[in-house]
Amino acid sequence: MIELRDVHKAFGSNQVLRGVDLTIPSGTSMVIIGGSGTGKSVALKCVLGLIRHDSGQILLDGQDVTRADRDAFLARFGMLFQGGALFDSLPVWQNVAFRLLRGSLKRPRAEAREIAIEKLRRVGLTPEQADKFPAELSGGMQKRVGLARAICAEPEIIFFDEPTTGLDPIMSGVINDLIREIVTEMGATAMTITHDMTSVRAIADNVAMLHDGVIKWTGPVSEMDDSGDPYLDQFIHGRATGPIAAVR
């Protein structure tokens, strides 16, 4: 279980997180929604320790993440970055098997390659793509390679940062289905941040709405449409008028 308790984070005078409280039970899929610049990515990076939060607590299974053994902690996570964040200098299979080629999870090269090809197959890519470089792939394929990399070491927790941004609706649907299938099949805890309401409905067990640095609403996705929360209503229906200012 991941718990954020009164988490604050500022960059200079810009107070991004103003006391975020959120609980993500193990084995569930939480989607955080909210406008651009509301701190969704910052919250996610605080959990991973990529950004140090100023105050509050972030707990993983009851243990403060800032006091956890870093390698053991990160070994439990997989992450799909918004732009894929694939390493340009490495072929696709080495990107996917990155964790298996070095560090505590190191495997023989041939075995790591086999696992990478299996994961590529799992996300709908053929073994022929394995020896290509990321720049030779389309955006959708890069996203799928990023997804294969995120699941390669079979993590307990997977984070997805804007998984469908920049993709056409069909490819978005493919990625959403893959995420749902993989999370269910692996029994992983998932935390996704997105603007895409189709993704929200496809991926989420629970939804949290982040606005002005705090969680305005959180609950099961089935209750999202009838929440009665004006912020959430405006966001999910894409209305220009409401409590969320259109010009930020």
Binding site: K45, R70, F77, Q82, A85, F98, R149
Partner: protein, 261 residues
Amino acid sequence: MRLILSLLGRLGAQVLAMLAAVGRVTLFALETVTHLMRPPFYAREFGHALVQIGWLSLPVVGMTALFTGGALALQIYAGGARFNAETVVPSIVAIGLTRELGPVLGGLMVAARVASSIAAEIGTMKVTEQIDALTTLSTNPMKYLTLPRVLAATLAVPLLVGVGDVIGIMGGFLVGVGRLDFGAGTYLHNTMDFLETWDVVSGMIKGAVFGFIVALMGCYYGMNSGRGAQGVGRATKAAVVAASVLILASNYILTELFFSA
């Protein structure tokens, strides 16, 4: 009075900012060095950096040394003619190249080629979240990106300087024999007679320091790159400028240490 105070205030702020930057670079350098003593060591990345920084810089360093050696021979011949001392050309070319021009010009050429390339590569990795991705994949970016490059440059640049010395002396030899009517045997004899081991070794030590500076600046500015194409462009420019200035400054300090009476 107010104007003077304002100017002093600005000067003070600049000095403080500069000292803070020196502190940050020093901490970055210390962190890099301490990673050398802690496993894991990424041998594949080190090998790749060695090829990129050392082997692929050889043509530019070699060409620089060749033309510098030739030009130096012409200059010393023209200058020496004023004192009827034309015969010193081989020895001065050799000493000038090994002690000073070889390492400094070689270092500057490597700074232009390597510091820019490292800063642009790491800066792009930063803005495309590849550095964050490394961290989430349980890989320390300092260990994976910085240490192999800094170590490779520290080892490769002295070798480049050594090869550059030989090529530079050959440049002087070609001009001396072809244009200035030296006998080939006399030129080589004069070169070897006056050249000491320390001339070559001191130049190579300078090369090691310059290599360390070049890679460190590339990595530091890459890791601290701002957002977008403009941020990467600024980081690249700053890396080359800082590396070049530090090479020239450290060259003076090392020359004082090695050769002051």
